[in-house]
């Protein structure tokens, strides 16, 4: 099969064939997913074209069940004999591994036999010449600032993909999703020769709704230039304001600890905390998988389970987990439609959301974090220690940029210690929040 000829119907047929083959090989149940995509990425650097890259991706994954035994296999080769070998490999594994009573397809009544159209498909008819023009416009806007001394370049990417999912319960679903991205990364230098780098990007499934190239370039330059003159900081205990783009990582750690796998591995600091206050009592977390055009919207999850709008944290109280069919069975619960990921998890506060200036006022004297580095997060204990860069704030105003510091604490304390939420939400990914102000953390510096 070649890329040009592959219609959605061809792909459904391909999925159905793999399902049929699995049955012929003795599988009692099976699920098959197939993804294809095509894209173009163009980057420029210092005013010149740097790369043109054409992407063409495809992959088929099969999960075969022999009673309570399971095998998984995947292949990027979609020729008929190769698909047959992949099905064989999955069946072979399923025959030789051990039983697990929790293995199996989703419960039939949870499957999305009917699913909504979510406005996720907006192909961009962008050729490489036009992409170069947009990327140049973006980088030029960043380099218009005289303090921008060097550049990692600007990049424009368009991508158009389709996902088809079927299983032996008769479920067959498909949806198309486009994904477009515009990014810019530049370097600023000061008189002393110190260099700082930062970047910005805009992404959306509808290219008409991305930030324009000039805006992306200007933000990249602003974010970079404001880091010049950074100093270390004396170690202290202080409130910490996480800018929205980095505040998303705090939601990410929460999702990790509230995911089915962490729970059944008993590798989560949230174990046994259901219906307890885990976040500050003003905070609510809701998941919106059906948001039209949303960054991580999906009509069904990676198993075909219908995704649903739901509340995960209600006024600080932990009400739900993130479960697949398997992890749900392990925990004696029902799937939450989170196989394959989180779908637009939004943090909101019942207190009025604050503007950036109001947040700085509320912070008073403390640290603004704009960048986090390293892996110092322990999901089992909730211990938190990461490298950081940002700004020191005195009397509600930025005093100077800081770098080469760490911030440390514990995630349970940080979640309960949120005292303010910013009005401007970062909605570019599956985790969406405004800036978060945490009352007290240990900062280590000189």
């Amino acid at each position: 099969m070649t890329a040009e000829s592959a219609s959605a119907q061809d792909l459904r047929t391909c999925v159905q064939q793999a399902l049929d083959q699995a049955r012929q090989q003795g599988a009692t149940a099976a699920a098959v997913s197939l993804e294809r995509g095509e894209g173009l990425t163009v980057s420029v650097r210092l005013g010149e074209l740097e790369t043109i890259e054409r992407e063409q991706d495809q992959g088929l994954s099969i999960t075969a069940y022999f009673g309570q035994r399971r095998g998984r296999a995947s292949s990027t080769d979609l020729r008929e004999d190769s698909i047959e070998r992949t099905v064989e490999a999955a069946c072979q594994i399923a025959r030789s591994t051990e039983e697990d009573p929790c293995h199996g397809l989703p419960d039939e009544d949870r499957l999305a036999f009917e699913y909504p159209e979510l406005d996720l498909h907006h192909p961009w008819d962008l050729d490489s010449d036009e992409a170069v023009r947009l990327a140049l416009e973006c980088e030029d806007a960043a380099r218009a600032d005289a303090r921008i001394a060097n550049s990692e370049g600007a990049e424009v990417r368009r991508y158009d993909g389709i996902r088809v999912l079927g299983n032996s319960l008769g479920f067959m679903g498909a949806y198309r999703r486009s994904s477009h991205d515009l990014s810019c990364c530049v370097v600023a230098a000061d008189e002393a020769g110190a260099q700082e780098r930062d970047y910005w990007h805009s992404t959306h499934c509808d290219w008409r709704k991305m930030q324009d190239p000039g805006t992306v370039g200007r933000i990249a330059a602003e974010r970079t230039v404001r880091r010049l003159g950074a100093q270390p900081l004396a170690s202290c205990v202080a409130p910490v304001l996480f800018e929205a783009p980095v505040a998303r990582s705090l939601l990410g750690h929460f999702v990790g600890a509230a995911s089915g796998q962490a729970l059944y591995h008993e590798a989560s600091f949230l174990l046994g905390r259901k219906d307890e206050q885990v976040w500050a009592e003003e905070i609510t977390l809701t998941e919106h998988p059906h948001e039209a055009g949303g960054a991580a919207s999906a009509p069904f999850d990676a198993e075909g389970v219908a995704t649903q709008e739901r509340t995960v944290v209600d006024n600080g109280i932990l009400r739900g987990w993130f479960l697949s069919s398997y992890s749900a069975r392990r925990l004696g619960l029902a799937s939450t439609g989170n196989a394959g990921g989180i779908r637009n998890l939004v943090l909101e506060s019942r207190e009025p959301a604050l503007s950036w200036d109001e947040l700085l006022q509320r912070l008073g004297r403390g640290l603004v974090v704009t960048e986090l580095m390293g892996q110092g997060v322990n999901q089992v204990t909730g211990d938190y220690s990461r490298g950081a860069a940002g700004f020191w704030v005195e009397n509600g105003a930025v005093a100077h940029p800081v770098h080469e510091i760490t911030i440390a604490g514990s995630l349970p304390d940080m979640y309960r210690g949120i005292v303010a939420v910013g009005a401007e939400q970062d909605r570019r990914g599956s985790l969406q929040t405004g800036a978060l102000l945490v009352d007290r953390m240990q900062i280590a510096g000189v």
């Binding site: 995947s74 594994i93 780098r197 205990v237 089992v380």
Partner: protein, 486 residues
């Protein structure tokens, strides 16, 4: 066309025959790219098989097999690169990719392609397929041994998860610089994770390792029991750990895996792409002293069987032992062909790519510091108050500002030259170009890591190795949780 090689059977079986490709098809692909006035073009064919098996709660109930294959075609003109890839290994798709890749160049050219004349570099590992090294029952038995060993060591052990993974990659590289090379790259890994609980407190411990060989090597070296013991030891130790201090202090880094410091603080800043673009904090430091004369750091891709080793990089250049810092002075950068050409130097055999769907760039192989003169005991005894960090989760660097972090998973407080007690994991942060100046003692106990490292750069993951002897660093910022106002 080169002579028959040991890799040829696998290359024909996996890369050429299924799509009816021949060395002539590859030459036509290159000629198609070369017919526009570019400086360089290459084609990269790859077939890879991966498998992983996991034991959890004493039961092996999850396993997966992945087959990936495809071709990437690249053309370069000056600083411009055109790149296209396809999952389909067929003459049509290769020509199509070549057409897309050459779009960065314009003028036509009649000149013939240079003749290919590559001889294969010496192998760094055997070419057996690790997936077929053991039968399924034996793989399951290996995981059982890990599980039973870990559970038998202490009643506090509550959860044991272990994963056995292997890969078998067959590649072919042909370029307009006369390269026609084939390679086979096996890789195995065993990792163990343990959760221990005592008095309501839960802690995690982990260990892992592997290299470019088959599963049977893991059995021969006693890895299942050894890794289980190590994971349990760390988990039990963490049950006793107290809060780590916060602030700047003397840090003693253990030997082996703590060499991730060199990888982050030094290695990435010496990669040729950042050097060429001037975006590395090390750009102007060639020939400059950045450390005491006791410090020598190399990147060596030629070590037998190591996770980070390759006989050739992904552009067909033989790997080598590149001296990065010699007696405290910066002596070398790491190059792929594109950046070497633009910098008017030679590739150091560090052009690596995650797969056919990614473009090569300068990457490390096995990066380590050579041994010095001090015993580890002498180094610990020299510290009045500080941190002794021996286990790490990994690290990250901003090559432009030079700031790096790495996160300890096993550490102790040092008091009066002696280990006082274990402390919780903490992030360490420093400045790459200046951190080695603060290395005041280098141990005589060089060790390489057990083979667990994966390095991420621009979204591409490649296996790497690190190593070092015990080091004393006079001042490093430690991000502990022990609250105190400075």
């Amino acid at each position: 066309m080169p002579d028959e090689r040991v890799t040829d059977g696998a290359v024909r079986r996996y890369l050429l025959d299924p799509g009816e490709l021949t060395p002539q098809t590859l030459e036509q692909t290159l000629a198609h790219a070369w017919s526009r006035a570019c400086d360089y073009a290459d084609v990269y064919l790859q077939h890879s098989q991966h498998e992983s098996l996991t034991i959890e709660n004493g039961v092996v109930k999850d396993a997966a097999f992945t087959l990936e294959q495809g071709a990437g075609v690249r053309a370069a003109l000056g600083e411009k690169t055109g790149f296209a890839y396809s999952e389909e290994l067929s003459p049509d798709q290769l020509l199509e990719a070549a057409r897309a890749a050459r779009s960065i160049a314009h003028g036509d050219r009649q000149a013939r392609l240079p003749q290919s004349s590559s001889t294969p570099p010496p192998a760094v590992c055997a070419y057996d397929n690790p997936l077929q090294d053991l039968g399924m029952e034996q793989k399951i038995a290996l995981l059982r041994e890990v599980d039973e060993t870990a559970r038998g060591l202490a009643p506090e052990v509550k959860k044991v998860t272990a994963t056995l993974a292997s890969a078998y990659e067959v590649i072919l590289i042909a370029s307009t610089e006369g390269v026609y090379q084939t390679d086979i790259r096996p890789l195995v890994r065993l990792s163990v994770s343990v959760i221990a609980e005592r008095d309501g407190r839960r802690e995690i411990g982990g260990h892992g390792g592997g290299g470019r060989y088959g599963y049977s090597r893991l059995l021969e070296t006693g890895a299942p029991a050894r890794f289980a013991q190590e994971a349990v030891r760390v988990a039990l130790l963490n049950l006793e750990s107290q809060e780590a201090p916060a602030g700047t202090m003397t840090v003693v880094l253990g030997h082996g895996w703590p060499g991730v410091l060199l990888h982050e603080a030094i290695g990435h800043g010496l990669e040729g792409d950042a050097i060429r673009k001037g975006t590395s904090a090390f750009t102007h430091l060639m020939g400059q002293r950045v450390a005491s004369p006791e410090v020598t750091v190399v990147d060596n891709g030629t070590l037998p069987d190591r996770r980070g080793s390759l006989c050739m990089d992904d552009e067909g250049t033989p790997t080598q032992n590149t001296v990065l810092i010699e007696d405290g002075i910066i002596r070398g950068f790491l190059y792929d062909r594109l950046n070497a050409r633009l910098c008017k130097t030679k590739s150091t055999g560090n052009g690596r790519r995650e797969s056919y769907a990614h473009q090569p760039m300068p990457r490390m192989t096995n990066t380590y510091m050579q041994a010095g003169a001090h015993s580890p005991e002498e180094i610990l005894a020299s510290v009045d108050h500080g941190l002794y960090a021996v286990g790490f989760n990994g690290g990250q660097v901003d090559i432009t500002s030079g700031k790096f972090v790495f996160s300890a998973s096993e550490a102790y407080l040092i008091k009066n030259g002696k280990i006082a007690h274990p402390v919780k994991g903490a992030t360490l942060v420093g400045d790459g170009p200046s951190v080695l100046r603060r290395v005041s003692m280098v141990g005589d106990d060089l060790e390489l890591d057990d083979g667990i490292g994966t390095c991420g750069k621009d979204g591409q993951q490649v296996p790497v190795g690190v190593g070092q002897p015990t080091l004393r660093v006079d001042e490093l910022t430690v991000g502990g949780t022990q609250m105190h106002d400075g």
